[in-house]
């Protein structure tokens, strides 16, 4: 089987974010970069399927600058067979539809039986790209999966719904699935696998060669949310803080009575 997993490199969400000089996206300087958390589940599930079936070829795809190759190497070390880097220094200016068009244009004549993506990215968080790729390729798409099984050409999954309920779904392959947090336990690459990953094929394709569609949205501005008053902010030594906090809890709540 031919498998594809699409990943994105994102900043660590614990970072302090600054708006860039254009005022339209975050400043990429001084950020720690990692694999989008949702995509770690997608990579893990694709690797598990490869281990289940044996005879598989698993490609990992990532769009972005040279910097994203570091994240691709992690996916290769987790067990992907080859990497396709769609080189694009402007990917942060492309909206989800433009990004989806790049992936679909790459995948359309490759005959992938199953495509894995994360449910959404942690930075943009649109939850659009995976479903759009499926629609552009005319594939069935199961989204928000927290359980995945593959048997006789059929994908069986459970979608996570609000309130802890799950929806049981299935579809025939070829298909695309989007992975929700908690789908599996993503593995840590081992040192031998990290070494092996360095020798794996990592092909770069300029984004322009894949005729990306134009974005359909325009970002007008980006800014931190206005503080809505919020509460009291306390700083200081832990022991003093603890004393202050207990005093506040005694005054403002009934729980310490």
């Amino acid at each position: 089987m031919k498998l594809l997993v699409c990943i994105k490199q994102v900043p660590d969400m614990e970072s302090k974010f600054k708006v860039n000089s254009e005022g339209l996206w975050y400043d990429s300087a001084d950020l720690a970069w990692r694999m989008n958390e949702y995509d770690e589940y997608a990579v893990e599930q694709a690797v598990q399927l490869k281990e289940q079936l044996g005879d598989c070829d698993l490609t990992v795809l990532c769009i972005g600058s040279e910097r994203v190759k570091e994240t691709m190497k992690k996916a290769l070390a987790m067990g992907c067979d080859r990497g396709v880097h769609i080189a694009d220094d402007d990917s942060h200016r492309k909206d989800p539809f433009a990004i989806a068009s790049l992936i679909a244009n790459f995948a359309k004549d490759k005959g992938f039986d199953l495509i894995f993506t994360g449910l959404q990215s942690q930075d943009r968080g649109s939850a659009q790209v995976g479903v759009m790729v499926a629609e552009l390729l005319g594939l069935p798409c199961l989204t928000t999966l927290v359980e995945f099984a593959f048997e006789n050409g059929t994908v069986h999954g459970k979608r996570e719904l609000e309130g802890g309920t799950k929806g049981k779904v299935s579809c025939a392959t070829p298909a695309l699935v989007t992975c929700q947090l908690g789908l599996n336990t993503p593995r840590y690459p081992t040192l031998p696998n990290i070494m092996k990953a360095k020798k794996k094929e990592l092909l770069s394709i300029p984004a322009a060669d894949l005729s990306p569609a134009d974005s359909r949205t325009q970002t007008l501005s980006m800014a931190p949310p206005e503080k809505k008053g919020g509460g009291l902010i306390l700083e200081g030594e832990p022991a003093e803080l603890a004393e202050q906090l207990l005093q506040i809890l005694k005054e403002k709540t009934t729980v310490l009575a």
Binding site: E135, K168, A223, E235, A242, V255
Partner: protein, 304 residues
């Protein structure tokens, strides 16, 4: 402007997001029509035209059929905007519509500002203001962002749609949430652990503080996903919704999914090293500190 609102029903029940959709249309001062794949016995309180397809025939979850029904109504109503809840139903369906209609899509709208739409980015640490460049666009609304101040009223003018079940996805029904070993919804005091606890061993100090306060301990999603504790402890959209007298959020940055589950708490104390963490928006007090130092001291002082 004309907008088409896509309401959601689950297990035969209309979901509350229908009221938020119509409130959003009012915010825009737009004419609206609504579409629901649901049941005649669970109609929304809505004063306009409601296109209704029977979920028993169309399938309650059947994206291909729902897409087709919406496209039929779009052809009839010619809306500029199609609006869905940003839910497991909405974010699944919206991109299918956007591709079929060559429409822009804007996800998880929290605000309308001068005719443009505001969406969260980077875990709500930043916000972007966006405009579609297409004539028709699809948007999803963040749960709770457009809650009407008053209960909606009205009786819809129902127009029935025919639907036959087909499509490329099979739906095999719902699986109820696991019976919760811990009912946090009734707890008066909850101390919750977030990603900021760093490692599973540190959960013990959260538990100890909860015990010293006479409450229960809870957790945010990353802690549950990492299997540091069981799902029945999870507070948030996909876990439990709680409203204790005191909620102590330890190392929880405050993703919207978590805030939705705890913002009705009477008093919120947040302990976080980042004073700009979004949890600060709902906290009565934000103690800027390393929880690993502060929590044991609090526990000790309480236990005296």
């Amino acid at each position: 402007m004309k907008v088409l609102l896509i309401a959601e029903s689950r297990d035969g029940k209309l979901l509350g997001s229908a009221a938020e959709l119509s409130h959003f249309a009012q915010t825009l001062n737009a004419d609206s029509a609504m579409l629901l794949v649901g049941s005649e016995s669970a109609l929304p309180a809505y004063g306009g035209t409601l296109y209704l397809a029977d979920a028993a025939l169309a399938g309650e979850f059947n994206p291909a059929v729902h897409k087709q029904l919406i496209l039929e109504v779009v052809a009839k109503e010619q809306p500029q905007l199609i609006v869905l809840p940003h839910s497991s139903y909405g974010w699944d369906l919206a991109p299918r519509l956007a591709v079929a209609l060559n429409a822009a899509q804007i996800s998880e709208v929290v605000e309308v500002k001068d005719g443009a739409l505001v969406v969260p980015t980077c875990n709500a640490k930043l916000r972007r203001t966006i405009k579609p460049t297409t004539e028709i666009s699809v948007v999803t609304l963040q749960a709770g962002a457009f809650t009407p101040s008053a209960e909606p009223s009205g009786t819809p003018n129902v127009v029935k749609l025919d639907a036959a079940p087909n499509g490329d996805i099979q739906f095999h029904g719902y699986e109820a949430a696991e019976a919760t070993a811990v009912d946090l919804s009734k707890a008066e005091i909850i101390v919750s652990a977030g990603r900021g606890i760093g490692k599973p061993e540190n959960l013990a100090m959260i538990e100890a503080l909860a015990k010293a306060l006479g409450g229960e301990f809870g957790a945010s999603r990353p802690v549950v996903d990492a299997e540091w504790t069981e799902h029945s402890r999870q507070v948030g959209t996909t876990g439990q919704t709680v409203s204790p007298k005191l909620y102590v959020a330890c190392g929880i940055s405050g993703a919207i999914q978590h805030l939705a589950g705890m913002k009705k708490s009477e008093f919120v104390l947040a302990i976080n090293t980042d004073k700009d963490a979004p949890i600060g928006e709902v906290a009565d007090v934000l103690a800027v500190a390393d929880l690993k130092q502060l929590v044991p001291i609090l526990t000790e002082k309480l236990s005296r």
